[in-house]
Amino acid sequence: MNNKSNPQMSQDQGSPNQDQGKSPKEGILDKIQQLGQTNVPQMEQSNIHMVTIIGQIEGHMQLPPQNKTTKYEHIIPQLVAAEQNPKIEGMLIILNTVGGDVEAGLALAEMISSMSKPTVTLVLGGGHSIGVPIAVASNYSFIAESATMTIHPVRLTGLVIGVPQTFEYLDKMQDRVISFVTKHSSITEETFKELMMSKGNLTRDIGTNVVGKDAVEYGIINEIGGLGPAIKKLNELIQENKPSEDVVQ
């Protein structure tokens, strides 16, 4: 590794020709402990910013700290800042989520879909439940071939008042998810509901687990791909979004 990149190490080392004592080794050991690698590459200012939607999407209740969560109070200001900053030309949204709060998820999805800058989503691993509307919220969506999306009815945890109105409320909440997904992707409401309510796909549960290729075939996601294609597509969208320069006389 390049010792010059770390001032602390080169100080400890003294002359480079002296015996390679303990200090550089300790420096490397320290770094391995931190990230599992010895050096990270540097690069210039990026015109693409990215947001990761990971773990559970947290709603109004704070989840215990052992849960990995995406908090809307973190993501929403980031999206506002990205929308405002003229140096940021595009957003990449990376998903690996198990789902979570419906309202927080829909809020993030609406924020992403209403951005004026080009957005591309990439589903890696899993984009389940409320991850589905977030995945379709962008201008163009990718899914890794091995990634899956579970589509199932909305459900509640905790104490529920057992009255018909509760069921109606739940049904309306589900309609909001369905209408968002069908509006922002090419899947029809009929097909999406069918996937949501189908039996026999999930063990002792209703819903469907849609794997990469199937998600594209059903029309939920635009294309199969990974990081490379996602960045390439985003750069294309950025170019299209730029006002054309050749109109100058």
Binding site: N6, Q33, Q34, L35, V40, P41, Q42, M43, E44, Q45, S46, I48, H49, M50, V51, P64, P65, Q66, H74, Q78, L79, A81, A82, I88, M91, T157, G158
Partner: protein, 73 residues
């Protein structure tokens, strides 16, 4: 012990308040850092970086596990 119940896990095993202690959010240029206090000596380490700028994730100072020092403490 095997539990067979309709109760939520949190109702049976309440979350200890101490688990929330020692975790703090710090504002940095371009984002936020989640830092955790290490033991008794008031030293902090970086847990997570929250930012949309991919370059900040390459900054050595913000790598998970890096010690973090407060300016005003």
């Amino acid at each position: 012990m095997i539990l067979y119940t309709y109760q939520a896990q949190e109702l049976i095993f309440p979350v200890q308040d101490t688990e929330y202690e020692g975790v703090e959010m710090v504002d940095i240029p371009g984002g936020q850092l989640q830092v955790q206090r290490q033991g008794e000596d008031n030293s902090y380490r970086v847990v997570r970086l929250l930012s949309t700028d991919p370059n900040l994730y390459l900054d050595e100072r913000y790598q998970p596990g890096q010690p973090y020092f407060f300016d005003n403490r």
